[in-house]
């Protein structure tokens, strides 16, 4: 039985339809990259998948969405907010408990963020900021990660590190990516989206970035 299946789903906002009759099956353990032009509907499809997965999935939103006024520890701890009582959450907000600090430390150490644990996220560099957002998603107990452009604001070296960690730590990975080479390298299945429809769904093995060209040609260019 697949982890998730969509059948002829449409979605949009403000009465504007972005996704049109999309169908997709996702198995546990797959690493899927959604590729396509900006505005094609990647984020909308990702949100739709995330909403179906419920608390089985951790989300890495496009803008990282860290709480500026809190420390790295608190932002990462938020990944398990739903698994802890309000009292424990309140307690950790005021005075972090040793046990929770230790758990968060284990997530932060491989991401080289251990020393920044009690720094405010406002003081972090771009890469540290993105890795903190990843740490929050990793600390989330869900086996699935849904990440919208998780490496858009870091250099290629850091991007590889983040994507490799994601693949290593989570069972199922659903990504939206505009970098085609990285998408092919880290995903085993490529789902191409254009004008709100899935127009390509193939294993990534053996593909080159040029094979994705058709997704990026504008409508006018195709007509010509």
């Amino acid at each position: 039985m697949p982890l998730l299946e969509l059948r002829d789903e449409s979605a949009g906002y403000d009465g504007k339809s972005i996704l049109r009759e999309v169908s997709i099956d996702i198995e546990a353990g797959e690493r899927i990259a959604l590729v396509g032009e900006s505005g094609a509907g990647k984020s909308t499809l990702l949100r739709l998948l995330y909403s179906r997965l419920g608390d089985a999935a951790a989300l890495m939103p496009q803008d990282s969405a860290l709480v500026q006024a809190l420390t790295v520890f608190h932002n990462v701890y938020m990944g398990r907010l739903h698994k802890r009582s309000v009292w424990r959450n309140l307690r950790n907000l005021v005075l972090p408990a040793a046990a929770d600090v230790e758990e968060v430390r284990k997530v932060l150490a491989p991401l080289r963020l251990e020393e920044k644990m009690f720094a405010n996220v406002g003081q972090l560099s771009g890469g540290q900021y993105q890795r903190t957002a990843l740490a929050r998603a990793l600390y989330h107990p869900g086996r699935v990660i849904v990440a919208d452009e998780p490496v858009s604001s870091v250099d290629e070296h850091q991007a590889r590190e983040i994507l490799a960690t994601m693949n290593g730590e989570k069972e199922t990975v659903l990504l939206a990516m505009h970098d085609r080479a990285l998408a092919l390298e880290f995903a085993d299945r490529i789902v191409g989206i254009r004008d709100g429809r899935i127009v390509m769904d193939t294993p990534s093995a053996g593909m080159t970035p040029d094979d994705l060209d058709e997704l990026y040609l504008s409508e006018g260019a195709v007509a010509a």
Partner: protein
């Protein structure tokens, strides 16, 4: 061909307010009635430059009480206001808060004075209640403006309380702290003024010293007050807060007794309009007479004077602001001159308008003039400070003109809109203060309220206070409409 300039909405609003203020001024009594006002002024100046810190033993106690009322009042208001901010989406809460903050802290104090006498409860509640209404509104706005994006990353299934604690509260917290400090400054001013109606704070000693002509003592009291406000950021530290609060609670004279039966009678009998209390067959007719009598004799003249004074003071504040902000603007003055400007503005805005009006009234005799000058000086110092700071963010091109030309061509056009926004924002505050200055003898609504309390006609006093509150709520609504229509906005830091 004659080219006509289109009139802009800002220009029309400005000329409208100027015209209204001018008409109000024509009918205003602004005469100086004392025989030799400048002789007394000379004596006052002499006193100001020769402060006497050893004159009175009670000086320290007056300062301590002033601090204690402000700290406890603002602390309770913070707790209650925060709680109300969380449920501010209920209409009843919004309306309730608008109502309690429309009544000035001195009116609240006059009411509680009848119930609790000179018990510290009177002073603490008088600050707590209106401040809770103000804080609730501002905190609700802060929470609304907090960064909502992290909400998307909260795991599905996290409770509302946890989400609030981790996502909405942290960003708002820093704003809460800044705003609390500002409120404490306001609380200190309110606390000082509470002395004028008999509580043992600074105002009480100030009034006594002033009436006896002990100007050196007045000067010492004011200098200490400025120092406390100017150094607030040094002594107000989070870890010390519990110490201050316990200390404040400990020094206040809680022993002053009050009787519950007395309070009960005040609430269930004294404040009920007399015709209803008396009952009888023609109760409704008697009540009608009572209301129309109050309407003709007190509410109508009081409201006219209040509105008249408010409009003159509002426009005068605008003019003075234009003169005050350059004093601290790096675009217009050098560093040395600006330091002097800062000191001047701090002193003027730290002096409660009530105290300024009291001093001027004693120098010039009763008329609207002392109130106009006091209100516009105090408010212009506040807005001038904010606008002066705003000009620090402006970048002029290198070859921009200098001097008077720079002021009129480069600076004023850039600050005019934010200045009007702040001015309209303070309109309601000026109105509230105008009403209260009536206690000093200017015939605004506060004058009739104070007289009613003095005559022990509490039913009339309460009715007049309600009318005053309604007037404030109306002005607040008009100001908000004008600000929306002219798209004038104030930022969080300026509230």
């Amino acid at each position: 061909m004659i080219l006509r300039r289109d009139s802009s909405p800002l220009g029309r609003a400005t000329s409208g307010f100027l015209l209204v203020a001018f008409v109000c001024l024509i009918f205003a009594d602004i005469a100086i009635s004392t025989g030799d006002p400048w002789r007394e002024f000379g004596l006052l100046l002499t006193g100001i430059v020769t402060p006497d810190f050893y004159q009175t033993d009670s000086l320290a106690l007056a300062i301590a009480y002033t601090l204690a009322f402000a700290l406890l009042g603002v602390a309770f208001a913070n707790v209650i206001g925060f709680g109300l901010a969380l449920i501010f989406h209920y209409r009843i809460v919004r309306v309730g808060c608008a109502f309690i903050r429309a009544i000035h802290e001195l009116f609240w104090a006059l009411i509680f004075l009848q119930m609790f006498g000179l018990s510290p409860l009177t002073g603490v509640l008088a600050i707590t209640i209106p401040y809770a209404g103000i804080i609730a509104k501002v905190y609700a706005e802060i929470l609304e403006e907090a960064d909502q994006r992290p909400l998307s990353a909260v795991p599905v299934g996290a409770g509302r309380a946890s989400t609030f604690l981790f996502v909405r509260l942290p960003d708002a917290w820093a704003h809460f702290r800044t705003y609390s400090m500002y409120r404490l400054e306001c609380g200190l001013r309110s606390s000082a003024v509470l002395g004028f109606i008999g509580l043992p704070t600074l105002g009480f000693h100030l009034e006594t010293a002033f009436k006896e002509g002990l100007y050196s003592e007045v000067s010492a009291l004011l200098i200490l007050f400025y120092l406390i406000i100017a150094t607030m950021r040094v002594w107000m530290k989070k870890p010390l807060l519990p110490v201050y609060l316990i200390g404040a609670a400990a020094i206040l004279p809680w022993g002053v007794a009050f009787s519950w039966s007395h309070i009960g009678r005040f609430l269930t009998e004294d404040i009920i309009p007399y015709p209803i209390r008396a009952g009888g067959d023609n109760m409704m007719a008697a009540l009608g007479d009572w209301v129309s009598m109050l309407m003709v004799d007190q509410i109508w003249p009081g409201t006219i004077a209040t509105v008249q004074l408010t409009m003159i003071a509002l426009v005068a504040t605008g003019f003075l602001t234009m003169a005050f902000f350059p004093l601290i603007s790096p675009l217009l003055l050098g560093r040395a001159a600006r330091t002097g400007g800062h000191v001047f503005l701090v002193v003027v805005r730290s002096t409660p308008e009530y105290i300024l009006a009291f001093v001027l009234l004693n120098l010039w005799g009763p008329s609207m003039l002392p109130a106009i000058v006091a209100l516009s000086l105090h408010n212009a110092a506040i807005i001038g400070h904010l606008i002066g700071r705003f000009t620090e963010t402006l970048q002029l091109r290198l070859d921009a003109v200098r001097g008077v030309n720079r002021y009129f061509y480069e600076v004023v056009p850039r600050i005019y809109r934010p200045m009007l926004a702040l001015l309209f924002y303070r309109w309601e505050i000026i109105m509230r203060e105008t009403a209260i200055l009536g206690i000093l003898g200017i015939a605004t609504l506060g004058f009739y309220v104070d007289s009613a309390f003095a005559d022990l006609r509490f039913d009339r006093a309460l009715f007049l206070i309600l009318i005053t509150a309604m007037l404030n709520i109306c002005v607040d609504a008009i100001s908000r409409t004008i600000r929306n229509r002219l798209r004038l906005q104030t930022t969080l830091e300026e509230r």
